[in-house]
């Protein structure tokens, strides 16, 4: 007996998609496997670590505890949509400059959360960034260089006024 499926329509990184999904299919699996966007990673599958963070209508969510059907009609942003025309987004570039990544596994989720943080507050203090990224675990860096990267990226984004809205 074939499983019951639903049709969902959503936009991912600006591209429209229509797909058939089982209601139980997790959004993170849909993105990774059905849409071929493996940049969003799975860390815990119970909503604690934030590794699977993507933006849904500009707000960060945990895609491991979101059903794909809950994203019907939504606009999703993943790490694959950050770089534009072969150029790294300032956040990506600053993560590299400041060595805000080591294994890179938490990085996509961290980048998406950082986008939201800077959209809400384009000029945060290091303490504000530290508190805001507490939502996302990193096991490698101890967070310090991530915070430095976000602060540097924020300065660059303010300077070039490259629309911070996600």
């Amino acid at each position: 007996m074939a499983p019951d499926t639903r049709t969902i329509s959503l936009t991912v990184n600006g591209q429209p998609h229509v797909a058939q999904v089982e209601p139980r299919r997790l959004l993170v699996d849909f993105l990774r496997e059905d849409l071929g966007l493996p940049g969003t990673h799975i860390g815990c599958e119970h909503g604690v670590c934030g590794t699977c963070t993507v933006l849904l209508n500009g707000a960060s969510i945990r895609s491991c505890i979101t059903l794909a059907v809950q994203a019907d009609g939504a606009s999703i942003d993943t790490v694959e949509g950050l770089a534009q025309g072969g150029e790294l987004h300032p956040l990506q570039d600053e993560f590299s400059e400041k060595q805000g990544l080591q294994c890179g596994y938490c990085t996509p989720g961290m980048l998406m959360r950082a986008r939201e943080i800077l959209a809400e507050n384009p000029d945060p203090s290091p303490d504000q960034v530290r508190e805001a990224i507490a939502s996302n675990l990193c096991r490698c860096t101890g967070y310090q260089f991530i915070i430095e990267a976000v602060i540097s990226a924020a300065a660059r984004m303010r300077a070039t006024k490259e629309g911070v809205a996600p």
């Binding site: 493996p38 799975i42 890179g104 596994y105 096991r139 310090q144």
Partner: protein, 817 residues
């Protein structure tokens, strides 16, 4: 210590480029980064191809039970399920797992439990299905008859008579026991003025990287070969053991490493997922992925950290001179003991810390219990020794009325190389310089004054920890077997290999074997080292990770060995390439090879620099113009170096001297300032300074990142993280809701300093430093908390220092919580 070992160190002379380094020492951006930033990391879960099947493992809910009947028919009937393999069937399809433990036949470890489960979460069956979703659906339909047995969860009770036995064949829960005496322990204790005693307890935590272990396997029926992609690879020379598990010759097993989302030791030789995936691939004839989920990993990763009970005596003179140590340690290894007591070898490498302690007694008992087994966790057992010793030093200071900084300073080793009582050597160091720099960075005097002011004026409990401790690097193989007087396999190899290939355009490719990317930066290290050798850009060096089967011998990351060993391999391969390139250039320039010098990416005639050939010019000739060279000069320009451990000596027959087995020893000083809320048991950081000396640094920023990250994990070990088992062996911290990993709010901003005392024995004077942060932080934080609570008569001797433990200690001392 035998004189013979000290007189012939066997260490090679080292090339020192310090005057003219261009790349080593630069904090360049990592060459690895772009793919990870773009979301194209290529982790194991990213390599699922259409048609790949998925495995899921059924796990025991009991800590200790016999396995009776297993009904699998209902699971097999689920559409999309391709196979169900029980532990008993797996025992026919596969031999036991590779096991370096003391007596593997008596504590047999299999990829799935066959007759008995020995810890909650041990796998008893595996399902293979079209998707992980379906596989998990099918798991729920498998019925297993368990006959529960009484579990044993306390290591000391496990060693007592009458305890339930984890392995009946062993007839005991003591997998290993031995007492070593190094130096004149009884004499030193007899001459001491005072003996400081304590009992200390370090509970197990673990690496818990955000990515679990996973493997994708294919079995080729035609060739009888396995190809397994997995995020673990190490000890390629020992992979014959994994091949044996899968019942194929080692030259029919190819393990190909993929980038890993962190390891911290937990992906070291983690072959169980590969074996399970391989077994399922062979059974189904299909490509099979087994990707642990978080529940699989927390309960069953086979890489829990050290879990120790210490009874320690430190013999002191009244003036603060440290004389001798008696250490009695029980280590709770869980249900299996895959790495033997190697974790204690790591302790013995630096057992006296940075101090001129003259003798040591070390008694170790490995207890088996109904828990997941220990594996590797950053520090591999040496960080526990650091903590234990620094606790004792602080206790001694308190009892003798001495300042904790002064007592350390007065006992520092100052002459190098220095052989410690166990026989290992500390190659170089300047502990005073590190201490002074750390105190300065920490604004120590300021914080001492603040501590007093806050206590007197506001009744706040602020504490400062000052610890000085070692970070050994680059282990020798002897530490696998010097535990036994008559070891079955007294192995002596821990090589690392690199192949360098210069193509016809002069571009360089470096091939790494067994050198997993775990978040360490092997590509950046190698690129910088190659760039240093050949005056190219590190970003122009191409790095390839080679699989195990037709690769060169290699050991992989662990024991902070990677950078040193890669440096030796790169240096060796570069030397061979340059030797051939020199001869080729000499031929092309029609001059003697000795009249040439390497400069700026090529060979030039000494005294006539216009006559030169770049590496590219040499390479194209070697690749394409054979007839331009003498007969004995082969085409191409590539070379490999198998770099063996540069400084290892054998243990003495009586084991009173273990030889040199971990010679490149760095050092660090951590100075955290904490505040303890005595009403809640919460510990917060007011300041944290750390100075590390890991010899020459290849990429200082990268090392700093490891120090911060390691310190963060040390904070977890000190305050938050614990695999908590209850009396029934149930794992209470079975998810990230209860296994508490520090967020950005638990980790303070660190002020980091570097000191570099190069090793005399390694290329560029590099020492390993990747583990250092975690090797220091637990000791430092415990010291700080104890400093805060000392006025209340409270001292914590158990990690992690949870609010519960802190409040219980306060209540016991008469302070209401």
């Amino acid at each position: 210590m035998t004189t013979a070992n000290q007189a012939t160190p066997g260490a090679p002379p080292v090339r020192d480029h310090s005057a003219s380094r261009r790349w080593v020492g630069q904090s360049i951006r990592r060459v690895e980064d772009p793919k990870f930033l773009l979301g194209r990391g290529g982790y194991i879960a990213d390599r699922i191809t259409p048609g790949t099947l998925h495995a899921a493992v059924l796990r025991s809910p009991f800590a200790h039970a016999r396995i009776g009947r297993i009904e699998t028919a209902a699971a097999l009937a689920v559409p999309g399920v391709h196979a169900v393999i029980t532990g008993r069937e797996a025992a026919e399809l596969c031999d036991p797992m590779p096991d370096f433990g003391p007596d593997p036949a008596k504590h047999t470890w299999r990829c799935l439990a066959a007759e008995k489960v020995r810890y909650v979460g041990e796998g008893v069956a595996v399902v293979v299905a079209d998707s992980r979703y379906l596989a998990e659906d099918a798991l729920e339909l498998i019925e297993v008859e368990y006959e529960p047995l009484p579990p044993v969860t306390d290591p000391e009770r496990a060693l007592a008579a009458g305890s339930p036995l984890v392995h009946e064949a062993l007839e005991s829960n003591c997998a290993y026991e031995r007492s070593f005496d190094f130096g004149e322990v009884e004499r030193d204790f007899a001459e001491a003025d005072v003996v400081i005693k304590d009992r200390l307890r370090w509970h197990r935590s673990g690496g818990q990287p955000l990515e679990t272990v996973g493997a994708i396997a294919e079995y080729d029926q035609g060739t009888g070969s396995f190809t397994i992609d997995t995020n673990t690879l190490s000890f390629t020379s020992y992979l014959f053991m994994a091949a044996g598990t899968l019942k194929v010759p080692v030259n029919k097993l190819d393990i190909r490493p993929v980038p890993a989302g962190g390891s911290f030791g937990s992906k070291l030789f983690a072959n169980k997922p590969a074996v399970i995936a391989g077994m399922c691939a062979r059974k189904t004839g299909r490509r099979v992925a087994y990707l642990e989920d978080r529940s699989d990993n927390i309960a069953n990763c086979d890489h829990h950290g050290s879990d120790r009970v210490y009874d320690v005596e430190l013999a002191m003179m009244r003036d603060g001179t440290m004389r001798s140590l008696k250490i009695d340690v029980v280590d709770d290894y869980g249900a299996y003991i895959q790495f033997g007591v190697g974790h204690h070898g790591n302790a013995l490498a630096q057992v006296v810390g940075p101090y001129t302690i003259g003798s040591v007694r070390y008694r170790v008992r490995a207890a088996l219990t109904n828990k997941n087994q220990q594996g590797a966790y950053r520090g591999f057992g040496s960080e526990v020794n650091n903590w234990m010793l620094e606790q004792m030093v602080d206790k001694a200071a308190r009892e003798l009325g001495l300042d904790p900084v002064a007592i350390r300073r007065m006992n520092f080793i100052r002459d190098f190389p220095h052989f410690i009582p166990t026989g290992n050597v500390y190659d170089s160091g300047d502990y005073e310089r590190v201490l002074d720099h750390a105190l300065e960075l920490a604004r120590y005097d300021h914080w001492r004054a603040e501590q007093q002011r806050l206590r007197e004026q506001e009744g706040r409990h602020v504490g400062i920890g000052v610890i000085t401790a070692q970070e050994r690097s680059v282990f020798s193989a002897t530490e696998f077997w010097f535990w036994f007087d008559e070891p079955g396999a007294p192995v002596t190899s821990t090589p690392e290999s690199v192949s360098l290939k210069v193509d016809a355009t002069g571009g360089i490719t470096a091939v790494l074997y067994s050198c997993a990317f775990w978040g360490n930066s092997p590509e950046t290290m190698v690129a910088q080292l190659v760039a240093e050798e050949f005056d190219c850009s590190p970003y122009d060096v191409s790095i390839v990770y080679h699989g195990s089967r037709d690769g060169l011998p290699a050991t992989g990351p662990g024991g902070s060995r990677t950078t040193v060993m890669l440096a030796g391999a790169v240096e060796g391969a570069s030397a061979k390439i340059k030797e051939k390139a020199r001869r080729a250039a000499a031929h092309l320039l029609e001059i003697g090879p000795d009249d040439l010098e390497w400069a700026d990416g090529g060979f030039r005639v000494r005294g006539d620099p216009e006559r030169k050939k770049t590496l590219g010019e040499i390479a194209i000739m070697l690749h394409l113009f054979k007839h331009s060279f003498p007969e004995d000069m082969e085409s191409g320009l590539d070379a490999s170096k198998v770099f063996d451990h540069p400084y290892t000596t054998m243990p003495s027959a009586d084991r009173k001297d273990l030889g040199v087995f971990y010679p490149f020893v760095g050092h660090a000083c951590h100075v955290p300032v904490v505040e303890v809320d005595i009403e809640t048991g919460a510990v917060t950081f007011l300041n944290y300074a750390a100075v590390h000396d890991c010899g020459t640094l290849v990429n200082p920023r990268s090392l700093a990142g490891h120090i911060v990250g390691g310190t963060a994990q040390g904070i977890g070990t000190a305050l938050y993280e614990e695999f908590v088992y209850d009396e029934d062996g149930q794992l209470l911290s079975s998810s990230f809701m209860d296994y508490l990993i520090p967020t950005a709010m638990e980790v303070p901003e660190l002020t980091i300093g570097h000191v570099e005392t190069p090793s005399p024995y390694t290329p560029h004077g590099i020492k390993g430093g990747g583990e250092g942060g975690r090797m220091m932080a637990p000791a430092a934080i415990n010291a700080a908390v104890n400093d805060a609570l000392a006025p209340l008569g409270v001292r914590l001797t158990e990690l992690p220092m949870t609010p519960e433990r802190i409040l219980a200690a306060l209540r016991a001392a008469g302070h209401a919580g």
